[in-house]
């Protein structure tokens, strides 16, 4: 399932041809890599003075001197029941099989704004494609797993995942990113495109190994009356910076961005969410819960942008932080930029520790102190997890959180 070439390529301009050849891509894909390389060279490095990089050092994601880890993802279905027709495959295979979904790459695009996105596109070394069929609802969640195995040199992994929800298609996709111990730079790019009336639940599980620095970019495009639920699950990795953006481009689109971070040890999570309301009558809802143990640090920056004319927008954003240790540190920057008046936009943020009233109540019912704490933390996660549909998915996610909690709290 998971494979990696023995001879890892150096991360250098000359490698893109070999990479494209090894991955069996069409010629236009190599052209697209060349354009991305040119953009990568051209674009400036991010600076600490930029708002997005004030709390996480951008130089941690410098790819210099690394070798490229190439990983083919594994696909399976969660839960039980009838097998579903295959709708996903590795990204590089889809380039040949589903060229219609890659018009941007074939026609001189895309235009890169950020150096790291260009880096991913130039040295893309993995990823997946999913096409949700038109007018079909897929019952069982599709799971895609990317596992970077152990290797010697400092590595770099650049997967690109593209999910296209065709008109009135409906599905759940879970994507899990993991790695062995060792020094790895991972910079996944995910783009989600929902056509009219399409509906997608997408879960990104970030469970990297201890030596991984991850820079994740997720972009979603929502056409008329489409519905998207995204859950970002931050569990692993040493340093994580993530940019999650929803672009509401068709009237009546609805986006829900959920987040759950359990940070422990010296972990650092810095997540930016942005809901762009370009057109009227869109709704967005952000709920981001961060639990912090030991000397971990989390940053949540959320923005709701309402463009001029995007009337009847309904947007909500909430960030909750549960501080479990005296050494933990949490930042929250929930923003609103509203350029239309007939709107309802709200946000909230809270910081608390174990609620003493809750703890007292649980103890009065006979629970030990440690069990009461676990129950409080579990409740904090359930609030987010239960926003998702599908019992097999909810159970699997609750299990992941449970494992992380036990590992962090000890017994």
């Amino acid at each position: 399932m998971t494979t990696m070439a023995d001879d890892m390529l150096n991360l250098e301009p000359a490698s893109i041809e070999a990479l494209s050849r090894q991955m069996g891509e069409p010629d236009w894909a190599l052209e697209a890599r060349r354009r991305a390389l040119a953009a990568f060279v051209e674009l400036p490095c991010p600076e600490r003075t930029q708002e997005a990089w004030r709390r996480t050092r951008p130089d941690l994601f410098d790819p210099q001197g690394r070798r490229i880890a190439r990983v083919t993802p594994a696909f399976d279905l969660l839960g039980e029941g009838e097998p579903e027709p295959p709708v996903g495959m590795p990204f590089e295979q889809a380039l040949s099989h589903e060229p219609g979904d890659f018009q941007d790459l074939r026609q001189g695009g895309p235009v890169f704004q950020e150096k790291d996105s260009a880096m991913n596109a130039a040295w893309r070394s993995g990823g997946a494609w999913v096409g949700i069929p038109r007018d079909r609802a897929l019952g069982r969640p599709l799971r895609i797993a990317h596992e970077v195995p152990a290797f010697q040199a400092p590595g770099a992994f650049f997967p690109h995942t593209r999910i296209v929800g065709r008109r009135h298609g409906k599905a759940t996709v879970v994507e899990s990113f993991g790695s062995a111990e060792g020094d790895l730079l991972a910079a996944p790019v995910v783009d989600l495109h929902l056509e009219e009336g399409a509906s997608l639940q997408y879960v990104l599980v970030s469970r990297w190994g201890e030596g991984t620095r991850a820079l994740t970019r997720l972009q979603a495009r929502l056409e008329r009356n489409s519905q998207l639920k995204v859950l970002f699950l931050g569990l692993g990795g040493a340093t994580t910076k993530a940019f999650l953006t929803g672009n509401l481009e068709g009237e009546g689109a609805k986006s829900e961005f959920l987040g759950l971070v359990f940070a422990s040890g010296g972990q650092h999570f810095d997540v930016d969410t942005l809901q762009n309301h370009h057109v009227p009558a869109g709704s967005s809802d952000v709920l981001f819960n961060c639990a912090l143990n030991q000397a971990s640090h989390s940053v949540f920056t959320g923005n709701i942008f309402v463009a001029p004319g995007a009337q009847k927008t309904d947007a909500y954003q909430k960030n909750r932080n549960l501080l479990l240790s005296g050494k933990a540190h949490a930042d929250s920057i929930p923003k609103l930029e509203i350029l239309a008046n007939d709107v309802r936009c709200t946000h909230g943020a809270t910081f608390t520790t174990y609620d003493q009233d809750q703890q007292f109540y649980l103890q009065s019912r006979g629970l030990q102190d440690a069990d009461a704490r676990r129950l409080i933390i579990t409740g904090f996660f359930q609030e987010v997890i239960e926003r998702l549909e599908g019992p097999s998915l909810v159970a699997w996610l609750a299990g992941l959180m449970q494992d992380k909690m036990e590992a962090s709290l000890g017994t």
Binding site: I338, N341, R344, H347, F351
Partner: protein
């Protein structure tokens, strides 16, 4: 005194919708040339007969000012030309103590602002800053007997140099930001208040600031110290006439609330729409002390103002209550900063803003909790109304929390005036205009009710004026 011909010329410059937009013909004892030089700073210090140490502070701050870059965040400040500003203007030779001695043209200005009446009624002290110096100053005798010092800042430097030296720049260092450095270099006027131990000043002390000359900066410096167990409420109002050229106001206000004391500082800012209002306001609250900033922003072209409270010791409490009204061509970038440096401290921020006719209102705030500060409570609430599709509202809060044992909440909403509310009021016979004005007044009510009566009445009148023609 303005004669008829200049009066007529001035009238032409006056924009009709700004009721304080009258201006007197300029008649000054000293008006500096435009631009800022080392020589000018030495000249200001010489005219004021300041001690050497103050001149040194000014010159050092001038160097800091030159070395600091303009802020790149927040509002657009590209319209400021530091070389096109008069940095010092003094209208008359000395601060007056009796109203009859105040020059006639200054009286005219104040008469139009309604200050003498207000004072006759019940004010404790009036210290009206007409440009750079305080020209009229009085304080009721019973306050003097209690040992309360209420002076203009220049007078305080002459009479109580040691107190000024002890506290000047201790809350806001000159290098805090470019405009604090500029103020430290060229400051003139402002208020100085010292309230002795245990004294509670039960009537508000008031000052009225006004910019008159064209293209001039106003750089007042205010310092308030409350000794343990004391209380004072200070009110400032700011108004400027309308000229075609932009002017700059860069004040520095430092408050020090010692153990168990309380300071309430109220500002009603109604600068005309060509003033850049870039003010640094910060307080230190010590053990069990309380500081409240009551901050109303109605005027100016651009305001950047984030009243801050450093909660230094256990039991300190901070509160900011602010409103902003951004009309045509205005950007109100205002907010609050709460820095919790000690355990068992608490803070509250309530911010309300309205944007209208293409105006932009932004809340920008900070709540910071240092690692050693446990048992913190903080609550921030921002509400914004946008009255038309051309206007804009932003919220930029930052929460930086370094301790576990905290209860911190932040909430913000942005919406329009509710259709149901307007419909209900119209069904009771109100016009749409009156209905919206009433809703806006109600929206600001938590702020208005904290003001002394005459200020609340004035504020409601100003809001009504701003709201005229908001329908259709």
């Amino acid at each position: 005194m303005a004669d008829a011909s200049t009066e007529a010329a001035i009238v032409q410059q006056i924009r009709s919708d700004y009721q304080y937009g009258f201006s007197d013909a300029e008649d000054y004892v000293f008006k500096s040339g435009k631009g800022l030089t080392r020589e000018l700073i030495m000249e200001i210090s010489r005219i004021k007969q300041e001690p050497e140490w103050m001149l040194e502070i000014r010159l050092k701050a001038f160097e800091v000012f030159k070395s600091k870059p303009m802020p790149t965040w927040g509002a657009d400040l590209s319209g400021i030309d530091f070389d096109d500003i008069h940095y010092y203007v003094r209208p008359s030779e000395k601060a007056e103590t009796d109203w009859d001695d105040v020059p006639e043209y200054i009286k005219n200005t104040f008469d139009r602002l309604g200050i003498p009446e207000a004072e006759r009624k019940f004010l404790a002290g009036v210290s009206a800053q007409y440009e750079s110096e305080v020209v009229y100053h009085s304080i009721r005798e019973d306050l003097e007997k209690l040992g309360v010092i209420f002076l203009d800042m220049d007078g305080a430097l002459r009479q109580f140099p040691e107190i000024v030296r002890q506290y000047f720049g201790t809350v806001i260092p000159m290098a805090d930001n470019k405009f604090a450095a500029l103020n430290t270099a060229v400051w003139s006027g402002g208020s100085f208040i010292y309230v002795p131990e245990g004294v509670k000043v039960d009537i508000p002390l008031q000052a009225y600031f006004r910019i008159n000359a064209q293209s001039m900066g106003q750089f007042e410096r205010t310092l308030i110290i409350t000794a343990p167990g004391s209380f004072v409420h200070y009110i400032e109002g700011c108004t400027a006439p309308v000229y075609s050229k932009d002017s700059l106001h860069a004040a520095v206000v430092e408050l020090i609330a010692l153990e168990g004391s309380k300071i309430r500082y109220t500002t009603i800012q109604n600068w005309s729409n060509n003033v850049y209002n870039l003010v640094t306001k910060r307080a230190k609250a010590f053990r069990n002390a309380a500081v409240e900033w009551i901050d109303g922003n109605l005027g100016s072209k651009i305001t950047m103002k984030y009243p801050a409270i450093f909660l230094m010791e256990e039991g300190a409490r901070g509160e900011v209550l602010s409103i902003a009204f951004a009309g045509k061509g205005q950007h109100q970038d205002a907010g609050a900063k709460m820095v919790h440096l000690a355990p068992h401290t608490s803070s509250t921020v309530l911010s309300k803003s309205i944007s209208k006719d293409g105006g932009r209102a932004s809340y920008r705030g900070l709540v910071k909790v240092l690692p050693k500060a446990e048992k913190i409570r903080s609550n921030v609430r921002c509400d914004a109304l946008i009255l038309d599709p051309e206007s804009r509202s932003d919220t930029y809060p930052t929460m930086d929390i370094g301790n576990q044992d905290v209860h911190i909440g932040h909430e913000a909403t942005v919406s329009k005036v509710g259709d149901e509310q307007v419909f209900y009021l119209m069904s009771r016979g109100l016009s749409e205009d009156d209905a919206i004005t009433m809703i806006v007044n109600g929206f600001f009510e938590p702020f208005t009710k904290e003001l002394p009566l005459e200020y609340a009445v004035e504020l409601n009148r100003l809001i009504k004026l701003e709201m005229e023609g908001s329908v259709g």
